[in-house]
Symmetry: C2
Subunit: 214 residues, 2 copies
């Protein structure tokens, strides 16, 4: 159920509050925008995330402005947006976008237990690029110390979803222009070898076939 803070006010017919839909959106994305306030000024910072059950993990250096604030337990808003298309109606007014977005409100807390931090880093890594963790040199003690991981509980949330063709006012359907949808998708291109890579090394399947479709 939405709270007064997560109830969708605008275009409430697009609102979705079920956990399954929210998880599906969170699992297709891996870039979120985290909002927090410093001295009354909001900041919105893009960062990657991973999800495990009802926990969202974000990470970064302990040096960042965001993490310094969050360690003190300030309120955050984490928003994930997947853009699916431009919706071209006959009228400028009814132009829209197809998208799926999730807004999570909560308090981010620092993951303090080293074992839980390592697990969270693995969740993050596998969320962004499944298969990579076991194929890379894993974090050593120094690196773990230099990394902060924050947990945001997925408790207070809402989603908005728009799909399908444009919806015009009845009298506009005869207006002489094209109408429809330009689909948009985040697609992976051909992997680029590191210039310092041994040229005999093959590109792994999880890189070659990378896709966010879930």
């Amino acid at each position: 159920m939405p709270t007064a803070r997560t109830r969708v006010v605008r275009e409430s017919d697009r609102a979705v509050y079920d956990r399954e839909t929210v998880y599906r959106i969170l699992d297709e994305g891996f870039l979120c925008h985290v909002g927090f306030s410093v001295d009354g000024q909001p900041f919105v910072i893009p960062t990657s995330y991973g999800r495990k059950d009802a926990s969202l993990y974000i990470h970064g250096s302990a040096a960042s402005r965001m993490l310094r604030q969050m360690k003190e337990g300030v309120a955050v808003c984490v928003t994930v947006t997947l853009l699916d298309g431009l919706v071209l109606a006959r009228s400028v007014f009814n132009h829209s976008m197809n998208y799926r977005s999730v807004v999570i409100l909560g308090t981010a807390t620092l993951v303090e237990d080293p074992q839980e931090e390592l697990t969270a880093l693995r969740v993050l890594s596998e969320h962004i690029l499944p298969g990579r963790w076991n194929d890379a040199r894993q974090p050593n003690e120094r690196e773990l110390k230099a990394t902060s991981v924050l947990r945001v509980p997925i408790e207070e949330f809402s989603a908005k979803v728009r799909t399908g063709p444009p919806i015009d006012d009845a009298e506009d359907y005869s207006f002489p222009t094209w109408a429809g949808v330009i689909p948009l998708d985040m697609l992976a291109g051909t992997p680029i070898n590191d210039p310092q890579l041994d040229s005999a090394r093959a590109i792994p399947k999880y890189v070659r076939e990378y896709s966010r479709k879930r």
Copy 2:
């Protein structure tokens, strides 16, 4: 010049403060995440935007939680992120992303003059889909009244840009794994006709050849 609030703290070698670079990023994107606070709780809402000179315009219904707040002149943060790729290093720790992001801090103000509002809507439309405005049924008086447009001055801002291959610690270059970049790009697919469209109507060039590359 950055202010204390926009100076990049983390990975400051990636910081960019020149207006030309910032405009190039803003002009390639059209989706921003707007942050604002309500009773101490930050909210981050995705929305489209347009840019003209040093003005960023966002719009929406006067009914939205965001706009109700912003009319009162609250502080906002507008963030635009273009994701360019996943960067796979040998070590988990040095994994990264290639991206270009802009953070603008400021106070959003309502565009009150009807003529300026119409101009701003045209800027928004042409920013998202150049060529569309003249091809669609333009806003009437009722629609203009139902629309709010906000202006955010592009005055206090910073950008972060990461490009290129992974950078590993010297001792990791011999680690036996693939390393490189998976390029990511937001691409337009084949346009989908509105089911109610006259099938004889051709898809216009600005739709067929839609691309964000600038």
